[in-house]
């Protein structure tokens, strides 16, 4: 097998279409007779829903129908099925597609209006009369767990959804053995996903075929089908769910949403195709976010800076429901102890309900939050001891010789967490060298002459990627000799089609141009899970690899029968099987495909199975752990507190890279997202749970003028846990970026204020914080 494509920065096959405006996103889909939906949403964070009067809306011009949940009686009832049940959640907590009696966050859907066009639907939605009785709301996860807190849901005696715990080693012994201990409290905040394409759904029902078809801007179309089939008590075969081009996902689009169900119910009821496109204001109140985690942790460490143990607790803001179970908080606990070898940890995380939009993973899920805490703690230990930040990391890292390294922790699937490969110290040394840490102080002094404060930031991370159990793939050669790859794994811009084609092209010696990829459509492949957790290169990538090898064997076997040559003397070349060294003696794959498609009455050669095709569900033999170290420089304007990231260097190891250009793109975008979490993105609510940031004037995203170029260096340690040796890279940029930037800000403040510099315990950090710190305040 010649690696012509694997490892090469091949230009993406997706791009040609997207560049000329021929993408097909949900809102680009049009169907004859299609109607448009607008939702009536809760204006209050907590209220009793006493009555809904749809009559005024129904009477408006262009309105075809208006529904509340009651109108769907007979089709389905009750709350949506939970996506990820967890034994600690005694009572699943999911919403109805349209609320019944109680509203638990601003934005919860109450009713839907169906009209000839979207403007008419939106206008009519305003005419729906809703009678509400306002109830006390809880808008802060810490307040939610106070004994006197109002209930987030009527009838629940506690706002504590679940209490999770992780523990290994003898924590008391670790703390007794330590020379030092410190306790710190942290507030981490992440906003929403803010994919540039909002969510959208098109649903249509074919009565004659009894078939429901859904297009949705989703990372998990197979989960949507599974949940919807459950809810509607239909067989999955009668539902097709497809994710067409999706304009970014970043986590929240992996949820299954009320609007997907409501559109399906509406289409079943009305027998007409329905479209709903979320607008940006809705995105702020109706698409899952991530928001807050608060932590108080105590660290034990030696005089030489080796970290021995961590204990403490956190509070996680679940929002009003738990559609995704406790995945986000459970993920947080799996992230300890990060890249550090510790003797013991004992950490609890309470999951609090609030009257806010539900939370679920946003790029990195809880990993960026925990990376923030761990990296801040390491920096704190360094300051406490007067050691360098890199010295404490060097003293505490898991070492290359310890691989595979069992952290002591337990993964979500119950297995023991074990880091598979790599050398964390090498990554750290390399990033320090690349950013020029040795002469940083010179740059710092020079910057001061320009009136700027310069800071150097540092952060390491390790990241579980490629979680199982599988994503599968089918490969099939068409009678014209083209290869079609089908997979359940949906894409949202990651370049899967290119990456998967690269893998197959090498195994089968087919030109990339002769390969098409069909992904994320339940009509094209039987099973799929979800594009989350940086898992597709590992799962789908290896499935394509395994299936391609099966297909290759089949083609060789056929040719060996036909040419009467041993399979070992055959090779694949340019879309044909040929006798090694005899280019003229060959059979094109197209001919084999046609022969294996069969002819009535003619047996297949050698009793072969029909079809030049193969399917594989690569089952991961354990999670692959990517890792890296980042360093950056920030420049602070002491007058305004304006903080710019001026340089950012990533050293990363995601195993063997299939397409370095795509990997770099994933990392760059991820870093910028993390810089947003460090400096800009802040989803705010008032005490009544009213969202305060619902436009891009109020909620700031990273923009081109403020963002640096990202310099990336790779270490390629093949993962021993899959045949391709790959690890995931989709979230690698985001995870360490916020702590890296915050560490740089603190470093700059230390330069100015010396020991009086604050220890920064939250993000995002605003210019106001910086100015207050420079003035000696608390930030």
């Amino acid at each position: 097998m010649s690696a012509r494509y694997f490892g090469a920065s091949v230009a993406r096959s997706e791009d040609a279409r997207l560049l000329i405006g021929q993408g097909r996103y949900v809102d680009d889909i049009d169907m004859p007779g299609m109607l448009h939906v607008a939702f009536v949403r809760s204006p209050m964070a907590h209220a009793r829903l006493k009555a809904v009067d749809l009559a005024p809306a129904r009477a408006m011009p262009g309105v075809v129908a208006a529904y509340t949940m009651e109108d769907f009686a007979g089709l389905a009832e009750g709350p949506m099925p939970p996506m990820a049940p967890h034994p600690l959640i005694k009572q699943p907590l999911t919403c109805h597609p349209l609320a019944r009696h109680e509203l638990c966050y601003v934005g919860e859907a109450i009713a839907m209006v169906v009209a000839q066009d979207r403007a008419l639907a939106e206008t009519a939605a305003l005419a729906v009369m809703v009678d509400l009785e306002e109830l006390p709301a809880v808008a802060d996860a810490r307040a939610a767990l106070q004994p006197d807190a109002a209930p987030v849901h009527l009838g629940r005696d506690s706002n504590l959804l679940a209490s999770l715990h992780t523990q290994f080693g003898d924590i008391d012994a670790a703390f007794e053995a330590a020379d030092h201990r410190l306790t710190e409290t942290f507030a981490t905040h992440r906003g929403g996903c803010h994919a540039m394409e909002c969510r959208g759904v098109v649903a249509s029902y074919d009565q004659r075929e009894d078939h429901l078809s859904i297009y949705t801007s989703s990372q998990a179309p197979f989960m949507v089908r599974r949940q919807l089939a459950n809810y509607l008590s239909r067989d999955e075969q009668t539902i097709r769910v497809a994710a067409p081009d999706v304009g970014g996902g970043f986590g929240p689009k992996a949820n299954v949403y009320p609007e997907e169900f409501a559109l399906a119910l509406g289409a079943l009821k009305l027998g007409r195709p329905l479209k709903w496109i979320e607008d940006r204001q809705e995105h702020f109140v109706a698409t899952n976010q991530q928001r807050d985690q608060f932590w108080t942790l105590e660290v034990a460490f030696t005089a030489s800076g080796r970290i021995l143990g961590l204990k403490g607790h956190g509070i996680h803001d679940s929002g009003a429901y738990a559609p995704y179970g406790v995945i986000l908080p459970a993920n947080a606990l799996v992230c300890f102890p990060g890249p550090y070898a510790m003797q013991a940890i004992d950490i609890r995380l309470d999951v609090a309900l609030t009257n806010l939009v539900p939370t679920s993973p946003v790029r990195g899920a809880s990993r960026p939050n925990v990376a923030f805490i761990l990296e801040r703690i390491v920096d704190k230990v360094a300051r406490h001891l007067g050691h360098s930040r890199e010295a404490v990391r060097a003293a505490s890292f898991v070492r290359a010789a310890q691989m595979p390294y069992f952290t002591g922790g337990v993964a979500r699937d119950g297995s023991r967490v074990s880091y598979d490969s790599g050398d964390y110290q090498v990554a750290l040394d390399m990033v320090l060298e690349k950013i020029g840490a040795a002469d940083f102080t010179t740059r710092q002094r020079d910057a001061l002459k320009r009136g700027k404060l310069l800071g150097l930031g540092l952060a390491a991370c390790v990241e579980d990627t490629g979680i199982g159990p599988f994503e599968g793939a089918s490969l099939r050669v068409t009678p014209r000799g083209k290869l079609v790859i089908a997979t359940g794994a949906a894409a949202q811009g990651q370049g899967h089609a290119t990456m998967l084609a690269q893998i197959a092209a090498d195994v089968l010696s087919i030109d990339m141009a002769d390969i098409t990829v069909e992904a994320g459509d339940t009509g094209r492949f039987p099973l799929g899970l979800s594009t989350v957790g940086s898992r597709i290169a590992v799962t789908a990538g290896n499935s394509v690899h395994v299936a391609a090898q099966k297909l290759r064997s089949k083609a060789l076997h056929f040719a060996s029968l036909k040419l009467e040559v041993g399979a070992d003397d055959l090779e694949l070349s340019e879309g044909a099987v040929q006798v090694k060294g005899v280019p003229g003696l060959k059979i094109p794959l197209a001919d084999i495909a046609r022969a294996l498609a069969g002819t009535t009455g003619v047996p297949l050669p050698g009793g072969m199975e029909p079809d030049l095709a193969a399917t594989a569900y690569f089952e991961s033999s354990g999670v692959t752990f990517a890792y890296g170290s980042n360093a950056c420089e920030v420049e602070i304007d002491t007058e305004t507190g304006d903080t710019r990231v001026t340089r950012y260097v990533v050293v990363h190891d995601c195993g063997r890279m299939i397409n370095p250009m795509i990997v770099d793109g994933q990392i760059r975008g991820g870093v910028i997202h993390g810089i947003g979490n460090a400096l800009f993105e802040r989803m705010l609510h008032d005490e009544q749970g009213q969202p305060l940031t619902t436009t891009y004037g109020e909620y700031l995203l990273p923009m081109a003028c403020e963002m640096p170029n990202i310099e990336i260096h790779h270490i390629e340690t093949p993962s021993p846990r899959n045949p391709l040796g790959v690890k995931g890279a989709g979230e690698a940029g985001t995870i360490p970026a916020a702590p890296c930037v915050i560490s740089a800000i603190e470093n700059a403040l230390e330069f100015q204020l010396g020991k009086a510099a604050p220890f920064i315990t939250h993000h995002p950090v605003s210019p106001l914080d910086v100015v207050e710190w420079l003035d000696g305040g608390q930030g």
Binding site: L18, D245, V246
Partner: protein, 159 residues
């Protein structure tokens, strides 16, 4: 309150009915079927909807369709000529300037307008030009590199 509009889109004369409250973005997408122009925020901040109106980059979500009466409009569908990508489009592909592709039409139109005005802009001019275009995927670097590559080529061909 629907009125007939006559305008030129990508060099072709067109006329179609537009309701009074319809913005240019919806008109292009849903009346003319030119779905390459994307709506990312519909409040004038993200720049996904950018098209060129009489030579100027304009946010199609902030302009009523009726205001385009008689205008000359260019959209992403008009950039490639005879099936060949424009130099900027090709540079986007070569520099991995797009991932999900949703911001891409707006970026292309904004930068196409810039490169006509300033044939060889520097990095800061390019970043300033797209300071009103949000991309959540790429971190902007590939987009800037793509525009710089075209700028450098323009410079080489004029010197």
């Amino acid at each position: 309150m629907t009125a007939m509009l006559t305008l030129t889109v990508n060099g072709r004369d067109m006329s179609a009915a537009a309701p009074a409250n319809m913005h240019l973005g919806d008109f292009l997408r849903h009346v003319l079927g030119l779905t390459g122009t994307h709506m990312g925020c519909e409040h004038g901040v993200c720049g996904s909807c950018t098209v060129i109106v009489d030579g100027q980059p304009v946010r199609a979500c902030l302009m009523l369709a009726r205001q385009a009466q008689g205008a000359r409009i260019e959209t992403v569908e008009g950039l490639a000529q005879d099936g060949r990508l424009s130099p900027l489009q090709a540079a986007f592909r070569d520099h991995h300037a797009l991932q999900c592709g949703f911001c891409t039409p707006g970026m292309l139109m904004t930068l196409t307008a810039l490169l006509r005005d300033v044939p060889n802009p520097g990095e800061s001019e390019i970043r300033a030009a797209i300071s009103g275009n949000i991309c959540r995927c790429t971190g902007y670097q590939g987009i800037v590199e793509a525009a710089l590559a075209v700028a450098t080529r323009n410079e080489a061909s004029t010197s």
